[in-house]
Structures are given as C-alpha cells and as structure tokens.
C-alpha cells in the first residue's frame, strides 16, 4: 500500500497508456537509434544535403568555378527559359526518357515471363546471359554500341553489306542518332525491370494458378487474373525508378554521341556537364540541373506513394 502511494498521478496514467510519452522520453529511450544513424546522416549531409542546398542558392548568383559570385535574382532562370539549346535538350530528354523507360519496362516484362517458364538450372545461366548488359559499366556500354554501330567497322554496317545495302550513319544522320541512343540505353538497362518482375512473378503462390486452372481459366485468363494484379506495384516502382535513372543517365550517351553531332542529341545531363565543366559556369549549370531535379523528384514522389508503408524497397 505504501508503495502505491509513492507513485505520482503521471506515472500511473502513463502505465495504463492514458498519457502519451513526451518527445524527450522517446529520445532518451531510442538513443541507440541515433548512434546507429549518425554516420549515415553525416555522410548524407556532407555530400547530399549541403551540396543540394548550396546548389539551389547558387542558382540565384553568378557563381563560376573559384569565384563566389554576386546575387543576381532570377536572371539565371530567365536565361534558362529563353535559351534555345536548353528548350531543345529538355524536349529531347523527355522523349529519350519516355522511349527508354517504356521499352525497358516492356522488354523486361517479356524477359521475366519467358525466364519464368524455364527449368531452374536453365533459368540461372540463361538469366545471367540475358541480364548481362545491366552489369557492364554504362560508359563501356556507350563504347560497345559506338563500335557496334561504327560506319566502317561495325557489326551493323557489315550486316547491311550482307544484303548489299548501305548502312545509314547510325550516330549522325536523320533520326538515327536518336534511335541509336534509345536502343543502346534500352539494351543496357532492361534487365533491371526483368529482375524486379522476375522476383514479383516468383513470389506468386502456384496454388493460385492451380485454382484458376481448375475453374477452367486458360493460359491468357490465368495471366490476366492471377499474374497482372501482382505486377501493378512493381510496374509503378520500375516506371518511377527507371524514369529518374534515365533522366540522370550521363555516361552512356556521353560516350556514344556526347550530345553530337553538334548539339543534335543534347540531353539535359550532358548539357549540365558542358555548362559546368567546359564553360565553368556553375550557377547556370545548376539552373539547368534544376530542371532534371524537378523531373526526377516528380518520379520520386510517385515512387514513395507506391511503396507507401510497405517499405519493400527496390534498388
């Protein structure tokens, strides 16, 4: 009895869950969490949070490499929207991203469905072959395709010659450089969606197919009613992640055409690089980059919505 009297009203209320614990209580209770997360937080701050904020403030100045620069308001943004090359690169980037993302999604789905029909051993090594482009360095991918499409010595030219036809200049004339860039990028990254889809398909319990088959569903109906609903979330995930990564893609297009001939295939990523490190105009380069950030962050919001509470992350 004496003990009970010693406890305060707050303690008793907390014991029965009538009071919320305060923030400081939670902080004290979870100190290990902070010990564990501090290194990550420091690393992200040093090379992500700080540079990002620094970049945004930079766009309001005329900073160049090694010169702090003066505040000039929105002049960089004004320059941006009136710059023909930027507008052109913006349009082509959207086309490039849309083309590669949907091709990667489609090819990845077909590859995953085909692989799923194979036996386990065959799935392993054929899978390794089909996925192999994804694991080459993106820069190497650019060089590989440049050589493959080379007008004099490439496979493509030789194959055309086989039929007595002259190969078009795949990296220069007409719509060919655009097609080449999209095809090469699709080649490099379609395996990503194949991997995600394969994991999603493998996680569908086979009982569901058996049940559907017993109730008389044919192959196509089984695919539509059992497989497709399970692929919805993976599809959103692939679309948003690949959109962001295709926007960010620099190495492979840079090696393949470098934005050329001239500025014909100029992508936003290559333009950002050129303004920053060829012209040394850091402020304007980051302003160009803001357009890329805007596009990828839109994709990121979709992604976060899709994974929602699930937190089953796909990388």
């Amino acid at each position: 009895m004496a003990q009970k009297q010693g406890r305060s009203r707050e303690e008793i209320r907390e014991q029965y869950g009538l009071d919320e614990r305060t923030l400081t209580d939670r902080l004290r209770q979870n100190w290990t969490g902070y010990v564990f997360i501090v290194p990550t937080f420091v690393a992200f701050t040093a090379l992500f949070y700080y540079p990002m904020l620094r970049g945004i403030t930079m766009t309001l100045t005329d900073t160049r490499l090694g010169e702090p620069g003066q505040f000039i308001g929105l002049a960089n943004y004004q320059w941006l929207v009136t710059n023909d090359l930027f507008v052109y690169a913006f349009g082509w980037s959207i086309l490039f991203v849309a083309g590669t993302t949907f091709l990667q999604l489609g090819l990845g789905l077909v590859a995953a469905l085909l692989l799923n029909e194979l036996g386990d051993a065959a799935k392993d090594w054929i899978g390794a072959v089909i996925m192999s482009p994804y694991f080459a360095a993106p820069l190497a991918g650019g060089v590989i395709w440049m050589w493959f499409l080379d007008n004099s010595f490439g496979f493509a030219a030789k194959a055309f010659a086989l039929f007595g036809a002259d190969a078009p200049a795949f990296l220069a004339t007409g719509i060919w450089p655009f097609v080449s860039l999209i095809v090469a990028q699709t080649w490099h990254d379609y395996a990503y969606s194949a991997i995600i889809y394969a994991a999603a398909i493998a996680s569908i319990p086979s009982e569901q197919y058996e049940a559907a088959a017993q109730s008389g569903a044919n192959r196509l109906q089984r695919f539509r009613d059992v497989t497709v609903p399970r692929l919805l979330i993976p599809t959103i995930v692939i679309l948003s992640l690949r959109t962001a990564w295709n926007i960010a893609e620099f190495s492979q297009p840079f090696a393949l055409t470098g934005g050329g001939p001239g500025t014909k295939t100029m992508l936003l990523s290559i333009l950002t690089y050129r303004v920053a490190f060829v012209n040394n105009n850091f402020a304007r380069a980051y302003t160009v980059g803001m357009a890329m950030v805007l596009l990828s962050m839109t994709a990121a919001v979709v992604y976060v919505k899709a994974i929602n509470e699930e937190e089953n992350l796909y990388v």
């Binding site: 979870n30 564990f36 090379l47 090594w125 089909i130 694991f135 590989i144 493959f148 950002t272 980059g289």
Partner: protein
C-alpha cells in the same frame, strides 16, 4: 493439346534466343575485335566469325605497354576497395537503424534517403566539385574515394536494411536482450555475425558499382596518375592517336568482364537482393 504445347514451347525458345542475341551480339563484336590483329579488325575480309587461325592474344599483351593500364587498373582497385569499406562502415549501422530501431525523425530521414537514390548525380557534382576545390581534394585519389563512398552508400543501405528486416527474425534480438545484452551489444555480438553473408553480398555490389563508375572520377580528376580504367578508356577513345581498335577493345573486355562474371555467378545467391525485395 500436345500440339499446342509444342508450339508454345517453340515460341518460348524463339523468344529466349532473341533476347540472348540482343544481349550478347554487341558484346560479341567487342570480344571478336579484341582477339584480332589491328589490321584484321578493320579489314572487310574478316568474317562475322573470323577464321580460327586469325585469332591472337597479341592485343592483350600490348595493352600493358601501350597505355598506363597498370596504373589505371591499380587505381580502380584502390578506389573501389576503399569506397566499399568506408561505405559499409556507414551503411551497416544505418541500415540496421532503418530496419529495426524506432526513433523520432526515422521516417523523414528514410524518405530523404529514398530521394538520394533517385537524384540526378550529375547535378550534385557541381557543388561537390566546389567543396572539393576549396578543400584541395580535386585530382586526388582521396577525393575520388570520398565521393564514391557516398555514391554507393544509398545502395548499400537498401540492400542491408532489406536483409535485416527479412533475414533476421526479431526474436533473436529479443532473446539477446533478455540474456542481458543491450541493443548495441546484441547487434555487435548476435546480429552482425549472422549477417556476414549479406554484408559480403553488399560489399561485392559496392565494389562493382564503384568499379563501373565513370561520372565522379571523370569530373573530379584530370591527371593520368589518378585515372581509373573506366575513365582511361574514355580518354583513349577521344585521343587523336592512331586508333588501335583491338587494343582498345581488349581493355574494354578487361573492364567489363569482372562485373558481368561476378554478377552472373552470384545471381543465384544474391541476385534478388539487387533488384526486387532484398533478402
């Protein structure tokens, strides 16, 4: 019925072959060139599949005296190993905190970490370059290592937090807590040893991502002594010297082979961790 089955089987194999060809033929063209002499590589008489007698390892021996590839590959290895170790040092506790521990601000940090993975890194190189320029870290291996460590960090965190979440049952830690461990020692003595396979997989991926990276090394270095193999190939491609295609392609094979072979071999064990739900 049997007929239908046979036809769909044929369609399946046709599809598989088409994919395999699409994936492999560009590679094949590089490998073919790397085993020819420079004259044969550009000769129109050499067939799609060159005669066996024309194959030679000449280009693979020439790489080493034509360009400073010893330095380039050594730099690649130094930079990738260092970035792997540093990023794991950061990622292991971070991933564990995301997967298991609840603390105010966890959600916010978690979602900003999602954004880091989707951020266009080329944009970030600009302010980072400014910082490195200020700290005199441009054109040094240290600068490259720091940049790459943080570049591979998000990927490591995702891989490991998925493993901690799904691969290790929570009651293992609860049992450890009852046995008198606190959260820190439970992690160090119980969880970490159990996670070694996942840590090894993450280390492999981190190493190969750093190995494959072009952007950071390209932006942060100009000198040949601190160049990695990936960047070196770009410079050789752009140089005006008489191009020795077979030598260039041989160095490309050496650059691409390690990641492709390692990923291929490890696919069965850790492949799903790379894409798809980790663990």
């Amino acid at each position: 019925m049997l007929n239908d089955n046979r036809r769909s089987r044929a369609l399946l194999y046709a599809g598989i072959v088409a994919f395999a060809l699409f994936a492999i033929v560009p590679y094949y063209w590089v490998i073919r060139t790397s085993f020819l002499t420079n004259i044969a590589a550009i000769s129109p008489d050499t067939g799609f599949i060159p005669a066996f007698g024309k194959l030679t390892l000449e280009s693979y021996t020439q790489i080493w005296d034509r360009f400073a590839f010893v330095t380039f590959f050594r730099n690649s290895i130094i930079v990738s190993v260092a970035a792997t170790i540093i990023s794991l040092f950061f990622a292991i506790p971070g991933a564990y905190a995301f997967a298991r521990l609840d603390f105010p601000g966890r959600k916010a940090l978690f979602y900003t970490a999602v954004f880091t993975i989707m951020f266009p890194w080329i944009v970030l190189t600009i302010p980072v370059y400014e910082v490195f320029y200020f700290l005199d870290m441009v054109n040094t291996l240290v600068g490259v290592i720091v940049a790459l460590s943080i570049f591979v960090l998000p990927q490591n965190i995702w891989l490991l937090q998925g493993f901690f979440r799904q691969g290790i049952p929570e009651n293992i830690e609860e049992a450890a807590l009852i046995d008198g461990h606190n959260e820190l020692t439970a992690f160090l003595r119980i969880v970490l040893p159990l996670s070694l396979p996942a840590v090894a997989a993450a280390a492999l991926f981190a190493f190969l991502t750093a190995w494959n990276n072009f952007l950071w090394v390209f932006v942060l270095t100009t000198d040949e002594e601190v160049r990695t193999a990936t960047v070196a190939i770009y410079y050789i491609l752009g140089s005006d010297v008489l191009r020795e295609w077979n030598v260039l392609m041989a160095s490309l094979v050496l650059l691409v082979a390690p990641p492709v072979i390692f990923y291929g071999l490890s696919r069965r064990y850790v492949g799903e961790g790379l894409g798809g739900t980790p663990g």
